[in-house]
């Protein structure tokens, strides 16, 4: 049973949507954060790939590109002991309050 990322040759009749969406600020920061952590040797490309592949198949297919990156990065940061999910939840609440 192939994992959700392994999609070469999968039946798909969709035309290729050639338009490019405007990058949101958070997407560009998420992209840059990944590269910074990579340079520091904190996360490797293959670890990121493995974390993304481990996402629930429905979730993998429903998230946008940088959402997948974010889900995978959270998995890795928790696994490596840099962060806890509780800590991230609390920070999310704090950021949401700050924005209102």
């Amino acid at each position: 049973m192939p994992k959700p990322h392994d999609m070469g040759g999968e039946p798909n009749d969709e035309p290729i949507d050639q338009s490019d969406h405007q990058k949101m600020d958070w997407e560009m920061r998420a992209d840059a954060l990944h590269q910074v952590l990579g340079q520091k040797g904190i996360r490797r490309t293959d670890e990121m790939r493995r974390a993304m592949e481990s996402l629930d198949p429905d979730l993998y297919r429903s998230l946008s590109y940088y959402e997948r990156w974010t889900a995978a990065l959270e998995l890795l940061m928790v696994e490596k002991g840099f962060l806890t999910s509780d800590e991230i939840d609390r920070k999310v609440t704090q950021l949401n309050q700050g924005a209102n």
């Binding site: 999609m7 070469g8 405007q22 990058k23 560009m28 954060l33 910074v36 940061m77 950021l95």
Partner: protein, 213 residues
């Protein structure tokens, strides 16, 4: 929307609702900064560096290879050292690059079916379509159909070679130099080289009046 490119990005107004994952991404960055794992300045600088890379880098390399056959031979044989010659020194952490040449007989097209491997050092961030499930699924089994959508109809006598960059190499396609461009300067040639033709889904486009008849 179709006019947008990678250089533009959106700052949501304060108070505007951000998606769940956008918030989580911000929370992760904020916490990593608080803990001293990385700094905001490092992320800012990286963001600027990523933004500074664009397909115009790849286009300059292609135009130079078209203009200088000896450079082209070196570029195909050892991309890293050939690029250093012309001022693109890739950091050691950059994934290895391979350059494949399109000819009258063979046309290459690149995909990453498993994720989104892409020669970012020369082309910048990949376009959305390159990362789309439609492209990742279809490119390997229906490359000619995909190219047709990008406006390229290849004769059956041309052998299509799809490259699935599954591992440690990132592929750049060296497109065929269009006929009638013998008198163009390198800078003029570079303008003909689109991002998409360096991925191999199309060929360079020569506007009316540019090529000598």
């Amino acid at each position: 929307m179709s006019e947008s490119h990678d250089g533009e990005h959106v700052h949501p107004e304060s108070g505007e609702e951000l998606s769940l994952y956008a918030r989580r991404a911000q929370a992760i960055e904020a916490l990593l900064v608080e803990k001293g794992v990385c700094s905001t300045g490092e992320v800012d600088r990286m963001m600027n560096m990523v933004e500074s890379r664009s397909p115009s880098d790849g286009a300059k390399v292609v135009a130079h290879a078209w203009s200088d056959p000896e450079f082209k031979a070196r570029l195909l044989a050892d991309p890293r050292s050939a690029l250093t010659e012309i001022g693109y020194s890739l950091p050691d952490t950059t994934p290895h690059l391979a350059v494949v040449e399109n000819t009258e007989q063979v046309h290459h097209m690149v995909v990453c079916t498993l994720c989104s491997c892409y020669p970012r050092a020369l082309l910048g961030r990949p376009p959305d379509w390159y990362k789309s499930f439609a492209y990742r699924s279809r490119a390997v089994v229906d490359p000619r159909g995909v190219m047709r959508e990008f406006g390229l109809e290849l004769a059956d006598s041309v052998e299509v070679q799809v490259l699935d960059s599954t591992a440690d190499l990132r592929y750049l396609v060296l497109p065929r130099r269009p006929t009638g461009t013998e008198n163009l300067s390198e800078a003029e040639l570079a303008k003909l080289v689109s991002r998409d033709c360096m991925i191999g889904v199309t060929d360079p486009h020569v506007p009316e009046g540019v090529a000598a008849s």
